[in-house]
Subunit: 410 residues, 2 copies
């Protein structure tokens, strides 16, 4: 269950197997999460990076798709409880792939002020706030208010934070300046706050330093070792300093889906389920956990919570189920690291692959190529290609919609 990379790829693996598959997700769509920041920054439309799960699996006759919220498990009775008990699904084998959300490290009240970026609704919220800040700056009465409205703080220097922070100056400096009469959007300030010693800590130090320099050249104020101690409406406090900013985005941490805790297995600090090497739940050989929700290991090293790990662990769990049905023993999961990629801005990216590293132009084109390749469904791929082609040559953004009156009065 779960319509992300883990669940979807697991379901696809079972395509021609003699089993009945039910995929449950609380949304109707599969989301291509790696491009979510592009929706948040008004470059792609929400429909460009989503596809109905039902549509993706329409030709798989042994599979049904249910839009429902899983709210509990009856592991002894082998049932999944949905919609607070309104629906119960019996199972012989179960794969749990419900992923992660952002974590506010115990400060749940920060979420309202500093939205995170995990779902398509999150992206629409961030787009709304970002565009509204510019609109409000245009009608602001005082210079001080304008400054606050044109200050954007991104908390967290991982890939999501870097990508978000990198897109903002591109838009405020290149896309929109000619459209505003009373405010100079090129004077916008973008601050990226990272608590650790450097941005992109999962990358090589040298590559991360490259990305850091790129961000600074693009006009992002990068602060490392910056521990955020308070987030409130209109300001972030970091190391005693108070930064006045209307718009604050959160990209600092993940926390697993609460479903992990309902499985009754030991969890790690981030709430990930500690699974057996074959991805099954300790003591429950018929239940598997994959993707961001599982704490998986390969060669003694922890597997990172990235899309390729989900794409690989889903099929592994599915194949192990097929082996169990055939009374064969399961196979341990081995993560094959195909490399890490992060994009920083136009013509700027870094790529860390098993056999080589890239940065700048080639890395950016490589990133572009890979993401278009992986986009699920031919349709979206074409439409993303057009949007990107258009943005690339004109610097315009195709999806600058503030829907309805929402956000107008906040």
């Amino acid at each position: 269950m779960g319509g992300g990379f883990g669940g979807l790829y697991a379901a696809r693996t079972l395509k021609s197997a003699p089993v009945d598959v039910t995929l449950v997700d609380r949304t109707n769509h599969h989301l291509f999460q790696p491009l979510l920041y592009q929706v948040a920054t008004a470059t792609l439309a929400p429909t460009d990076i989503t596809a109905p799960i039902r549509w993706l699996l329409r030709k798989q006759r042994n599979t049904r798709v249910l839009l429902a919220e899983v709210t509990g498990f009856d592991l002894d009775g082998r049932r999944v409880v949905c919609d607070e008990g309104a629906l119960e699904l019996p199972y012989d084998y179960l794969i749990v792939a419900s992923g992660a959300r952002h974590s506010y490290f115990g400060h749940a009240e920060w979420e309202k002020v500093a939205p995170g970026l995990k779902s398509i609704s999150d992206a629409i919220t961030i787009r709304q706030r970002f565009l509204m800040a510019l609109e409000r700056a245009e009608k602001a009465a005082s210079e001080e208010e304008k400054r606050r409205l044109l200050t954007f703080v991104v908390i967290g220097g991982g890939p999501t934070g870097v990508e978000l922070a990198g897109m903002i100056p591109l838009i405020t400096r290149r896309t929109v300046p000619a459209e505003f009469r009373f405010v100079d959007t090129t004077k916008s300030r973008v601050v990226l706050l990272e608590g650790g010693a450097r941005v992109l800590p999962t990358f090589d130090e040298e590559l991360a330093a490259h990305a850091h320099r790129d961000l600074v050249e693009m006009g992002v104020e990068v602060r490392t070792g910056a521990m955020v101690t308070n987030v409130e409406r209109g300001a972030v406090t970091v190391g005693g300093e108070r930064i006045e900013a209307e718009t604050i985005f959160w990209a600092a941490g993940n926390e697993c889906s609460p479903l992990g805790a309902m499985l009754g297995a030991p969890l790690d600090r981030a709430g990930r389920v500690q699974v057996e090497p074959d991805l099954s739940l300790p003591g429950r050989p018929e239940v598997f956990v994959v993707g961001d929700l599982a704490e998986m290991h390969t060669g003694g090293k922890r597997v990172p919570g990235v899309a390729p790990a989900a794409m690989q662990s889903g099929p592994r769990a599915a194949n192990n189920i097929l082996r169990l049905i055939e009374h064969r023993s399961t196979v341990p999961f081995r993560y094959r690291n195909k490399g890490d990629l992060a994009t920083i801005g136009r013509h700027r990216a870094i790529a860390q692959l098993p056999s080589f590293r890239m940065w700048g132009y080639p890395a950016w084109w490589f990133w572009l190529f890979l993401h278009i390749m992986y986009l699920a469904g031919f349709r979206n791929r074409l439409s993303v290609l057009i949007e990107w082609g258009y943005s690339y040559f004109t610097y315009e953004r195709g999806a600058r919609l503030i829907a309805g009156g929402k956000g107008l009065n906040r």
Copy 2:
């Protein structure tokens, strides 16, 4: 003010005039309203039929765009009050083009159950409800519940109602059936209720009859002379009969923006401002009202509340302002009726033009051509063309997104 057809076309008319123009709208986007029903039925994405007003007017250096809500007027002091007084805009000349919303004829409580279709948020709401009904039917326990979930009632037989009702069977019969396992979506029931004697009353009787037959052939149950006496969650009562339906859409009536009443001029029954022949407010030669908000006449006949009337009256008001500045007398508005168009479904449409009438294939292609021509901004035109081409050949719909968990638990 107003970023619809009336306001936008008025602002464009003033492009090279020696005046300072301020366009105020409570959203950031111009909406191509004639295609709104295509967003509601998941064919086009919201960003396909919207464009930031700011972007549309970016090259017009004498014009500024403000995202604000007009909340009142000080006509003697020549000021527009925005955002409950937070912002006041002085003016020498004023054009009011704030349009219309749907009217529930005194039953405001029906709005929650039966949403109407005027804004992009409305369209997203309708899309959400339509898609959720199918999702819920797939997991419904009883046949009775399935039937209720697969019954769609559209109230109002004008162009919007006909277009909405026509799209639903296209999707339930052609686009999605292969994706559902437990429910036969081709058995969906679509009921179109019209209080008057026939659908599309503004068209020739013969053409309207054509459209009526088309709807019936497509599988829509059309009922004329059907007065709705009650709308509640899960049912519509019409002429003593209670139709059980989970999904109910409202396309029955318009009501003007409340700003009309704040102008202190006489209104007609629908809330339209009764303007002078030159579109000015009686006794206020410096204030003009255009578009759906104005009750305009040409040759003794009332001008209908359609997009072309707004596109023509906006520039007329703008030109009259320029004439007043040059101390010349104003010119009365003359509506040139270029014809009426309504589309019913694939290859089905009707067109009533001054010199000829069309239906079926040619009318449908004509409709397609005209709407692509009129779409504001080159970008959207291209992307709509692609979406339509794709839908035309594959019957797929490109925008079947239910965002977030919204609507899940209703």
